[in-house]
Subunit: 194 residues, 2 copies
Amino acid sequence: MAKLQKSIDKRNALIKATIDLVNNDGFHAAPMSKIAKMANVSPATIYLYFENKQDLVNKTYIEVKAEYTKYAFANYNEDVCVQKSFEIIWKRIADFKLKECENAMFLAQCDNTPIIDESCRQEGIKHLQPLLDLWARGKKEGVIKPISDYLLYAYTINPLSFLMINQKRGSFILDETLLEEAYQAAWSSIKVCK
Amino acid sequence: MAKLQKSIDKRNALIKATIDLVNNDGFHAAPMSKIAKMANVSPATIYLYFENKQDLVNKTYIEVKAEYTKYAFANYNEDVCVQKSFEIIWKRIADFKLKECENAMFLAQCDNTPIIDESCRQEGIKHLQPLLDLWARGKKEGVIKPISDYLLYAYTINPLSFLMINQKRGSFILDETLLEEAYQAAWSSIKVCK
DNA sequence: AAAAAAAGAATGAACATTCATTTTTTATTA
DNA sequence: TAATAAAAAATGAATGTTCATTCTTTTTTT
């Protein structure tokens, strides 16, 4: 396999450069020549690792999305009760969005624009299954409101993207206190009130 | 004023074409030539109305943002109680995001990417003041949680963008029932529990 | 007939991608 | 182990295209 012999470091550098440039300048202002320079590589080399620019962006998206979900569910355990499980996952996701800010920014940009192919977006959604399963369990137990998963996501996970972007822009800082308040807001929006 | 004599229709057509193209193809794939064609105008004519491409996009953003907030606060009245006021504004915003879907999509794309200038983004935020005032009142009265406005926005308004985008992509449909559920989720995430 | 607005064609720069070489790595032989 | 040949990887410099913007001319309005 020729591909496996090619330096994985170069590939990673290219992915990272893509994320950096797209985050800071936008996709429209992230030419292959700049990506190459930032990765310390010749423009021609990119084409040894990726078919073309679209492929580079698609693959970057899929890779980052996989990292994101892997991180989110790393210490998830089905034996714990719904509320606690949700808290654990939510806080892992919050962690990712704040610590892996560059990655999270890139995902947010892809999720809100037509820069990646629809098939890649679909591909990325699949990895969220454990969260959907947890919600199904919560609904069955009467702990979580019996509403669409899209609503649950919109009110618990998606706000984190907004907060992350605004923190990155320097509008405000998400410290421990704010994070706890955010978690409470998330949980109160989907829990069943006794 | 030479500017006022130029056809306002052409200007509007250009703004609309910009929104359409950026929504469907992304900023990187919205060349001036296509925008011109879609607006039934020569490429050179664009430069009679806008300085350059960046200016076109900036102005489009500001214009759409102004429309958005104008719509949101159209029937807002300071005499009504906080909870009711919030409901009215929230539902107007929901309405806008669902009925003026193209406009809302464009805003979402601008708000999550570096395609518009930072100064325009700031400019756009100013128009939200009435909502921030309402929240201040709600906090003082002990009706709304005493948390950062960014959190309040993240948990009440921002989810609508996510829902709108996914509705546009055909993932699901936001009917009357879902909309009411969404409103309840929004309100429960920020109200003070008695 | 003068001024303003609009047009299509032209210009030059920037870009994605490919090409022709060079460098590096791997495998082979002495 | 050292020398070398073959293969793979990487490169910088082309290539041809696309694009934003401008220029010159034409059309429309005053």
